[in-house]
Amino acid sequence: MERTNTLSIQQSRDNDFIREVEEASGQTVSKCYQCGNCMASCVYTFAYDYPVTQIMRLTQLGQRDTVLGSSSIWLCANCQACTTRCPQNIDVAQVMETLRVMSRKANTVSQRDIRVFYDEFLRSVKTFGRVFETGLLPVYNLRTKRPFTDFDLAPRLMWKGKLSFLPARIKKRKKIAQIFEVIKRDRFSKDGKARPEPLSSQTDI
Amino acid sequence: MLETDRIQLHKLVEEALPELDMMIGWTESCDPLQTTPVFIRDAKLISKLTLGPFCSQNLAGYLVKPPALESVPKDAKPIGICVKGCDSRSLVALIQEKFISRDRVRIFGIPCRGTIDWRKVAQRVGLSDVKSATVEDDFLVIDASGTTHRIGLEDVLARKCLGCRYPNPIIQDVLVGQVATPRSSSLETTYRDVDALDNKPIEERLAFWQSELDRCIRCYACRNACPLCVCQDKCIAETREPRWLTQRVGLPEKFLFHFIHAMHLAGRCTGCGECERVCPMDIPVTLIKEKLNKIMEEMLGYSAGLDPDGVPPLLTFNPGETEI
């Protein structure tokens, strides 16, 4: 995401965005006074395009596109350091999580590989009821065109007997698939802001 | 058995009377279903004293109300008084609130097996021509208009007696007769009627009281009979200074009067039922106080008239009770 260096506050402020974030996360974004503790505590700050403090600030200013398109929200590991230390008792990690969900819905996920991994993960769950670790990686590698990821680990794991070549399947797979279908059907109806996911560019589970 | 108790009472009073200023007890009246109070100074009258299921009146009130109190000089000898379990609680409350000191009364405690509500009898056999009435085991036997009626005691006992937890006097100097077994040991039984009303929807409760209290003629019999209603003619239901109530006869006035009576007795009422017994309009006024008694028990763990050293809960406080 390009960094914004000038900002017309009135023109760019999206009040609906602030409201949506607050409703979905249950957090009052205006409580943040930018002390920087989240940024100071976050071990991923080095990789973010906007540190957490600035994500909070951008959210306060209603900068929907910048926030939902940022890499930060997808590089957050939800490790809870920010939430634990926020002097204003804001569940910052929850805000980040909310932004991820919104960014998925808005189809603005900046980190394609992470999304692909997540998709494959969920596809595995939907199919088998459990995650098939051995099967997950090759598909991911294929789709992200990085065929050799973690290739170095395979021989050792095989030797340790940790790789299985058949997925574990649960009995009531239909029930799991049904949960996925219901969620998929309902996830846009809740906020009324349907932005249908184009299946062409990004796959869905 | 009743006769044995009566003879024992006569004997005890005879022994005590020289040290007493006066003896207050019950005696038979022209109505076999009811007794009347008797004030005895003359030993010859002792034989008139009676006890038993027809002695429903609570005599404790006489200690603080005319005529008894006014006739007693300050340094006089103690007054003897007959009390049932419920009456004794009134006595405890009066001692607790220092209306009477313990050494001014000689208490003849009488265990009680329940008192007869003459209204309930009248509903069954009519009021006329009751020649005699006796209690045999669990039955009331009435000879009226030449017929003998046997009525189950449960059907004619006063409402308060059915849920009685304290049939035996809380305090006494002498006990007359055998200790009685409580009819109730639980809040559920004691407050059965309260719960029954509470379980109705609020609209029905309001309608109930509207219909009951509408009959109130504000004769103040309930107030006058209450041993703990100590204001008497200073009662704010009647005064102009301050002026809480007018002499209008609308339902609000009737409600407010009964609220005044109830709130003034909150945490003090011992549940003797006198207010209800004397009501000429047949209004269940004790029920109102029973509800407050239940609140006091549940909220503050307090029952009036059980501890002469206790303090009525609305006249004190506990800083720690944050949950109420």
Partner: protein, 319 residues
């Protein structure tokens, strides 16, 4: 005998089989009956949550519902990630606005269940004192680094267990085995495991920092209670060394394995042979006072676990 529903989670079927094995053995040793939730399914982990929180709640909630159907009032999972999902499901179920949707998806409510981690179960239901009494093979003389990971005690309001900044439950259990547990400043720092596959450089950086600090404190091994932390620090230790230009060789056993060892259980049965970095050093008996014992707590000798080329471990520059 305490009866606890056991939600093992996908990792413990694959890369963390030894965690599953040692968990079962240790619980059995302390008289805790683990009832594996029949036909359990994956909780969906982070991918489900970032897709839709309700998906995560429903996937995790189904397992809780089965546990309740089997007459359990406590559900234990050794995986903090799964625990987070289970707690999320409970929270969703208790939220009046989402309760109906949740119950519709899961089929019933999941009220009244207590969800705990393996560590919490061992610390609260067994306790350090009972463990100490049960020790057959004291680990006296060993220096073990307690590493809790980011999710086990955080956020405090949801985890409701131990301290979010400086937890001590694992320290106490380690000490009960006779070993020394240094005051480890990175107890709850994130190891980067989430990005094990997608961002390998994160793992190098974050995992390296943890291994580095553990080595500085003279640790012989890093004890963990999370399958992801374990895989990250153990399986990927070589990758980390490559990124970090270091030569760490720190075994990363599970707390259940360490307790099992102290109880005198056969290391192989505990699956210690499944660890990538050999845990041989842990098997040394140091209960006899000799020179080795003096190493404990003393200044750290330079050794293979010292950090490599990067001074201070990390450098921060404005991006």
């Amino acid at each position: 005998m305490k009866r606890v529903a056991y939600y093992k989670g996908c990792s413990l079927e694959g890369l963390a089989v030894e965690y599953d094995r040692s968990t079962r053995i240790v619980c059995e040793a302390f008289g805790i009956e683990l009832v594996e939730i029949p036909d359990w399914n994956c909780c969906g982990s982070t991918p489900a949550h970032s897709y839709d929180p309700l998906l995560s709640a429903a996937l995790a909630g189904r397992n809780l519902a089965i546990a309740a159907d089997n007459g359990c009032d406590m559900v234990m999972t050794p995986c903090p990630g799964c625990l987070k999902s289970l707690k999320g499901a409970q929270e969703t179920c208790e939220d009046p606005q989402q309760r109906k949707a949740f119950v519709d998806l899961v089929g019933k409510d999941v009220d009244g269940l207590k969800t705990v981690s393996l560590l919490q179960l061992l610390y609260e239901e067994v306790g350090a004192e009972a463990l100490q009494k049960a020790v057959q093979r004291p680990l006296t003389g060993h220096v073990l680094i307690p590493y809790y990971g980011c999710l086990l005690t955080r956020p405090a309001q949801k985890a409701r267990f131990d301290d979010p900044e400086n937890p001590i439950s694992m320290d106490r259990l380690i000490e009960a085995t006779g070993a020394t547990a240094p005051d480890f400043p990175y107890k709850t720092e994130c190891c980067g495991a989430t990005y094990g596959v997608t961002r390998n450089d994160f793992v190098g950086r974050l995992g390296g920092r943890i291994l580095d600090m553990a080595a500085r404190l003279g640790g012989e091994a890093i004890v963990v209670a999370c399958p992801l932390c374990q895989q990250n620090l153990d399986m990927r230790q070589k990758q980390i060394n490559k990124y970090y230009k270091s030569a760490f060789n720190l075994p990363v056993p599970y707390i259940s394995q360490i307790i099992g060892l102290a109880l005198g259980i056969d290391p192989k049965v505990l699956g210690l042979n499944k660890l990538c970095v050999s845990p041989r050093v842990l098997l040394e008996d140091r209960t006899q006072p000799d020179q080795e014992a003096q190493r404990v707590g003393a200044a750290v000798k330079p050794g293979p676990n010292q950090p490599g080329g990067i001074a201070g471990g990390e450098s921060i520059q404005p991006s």
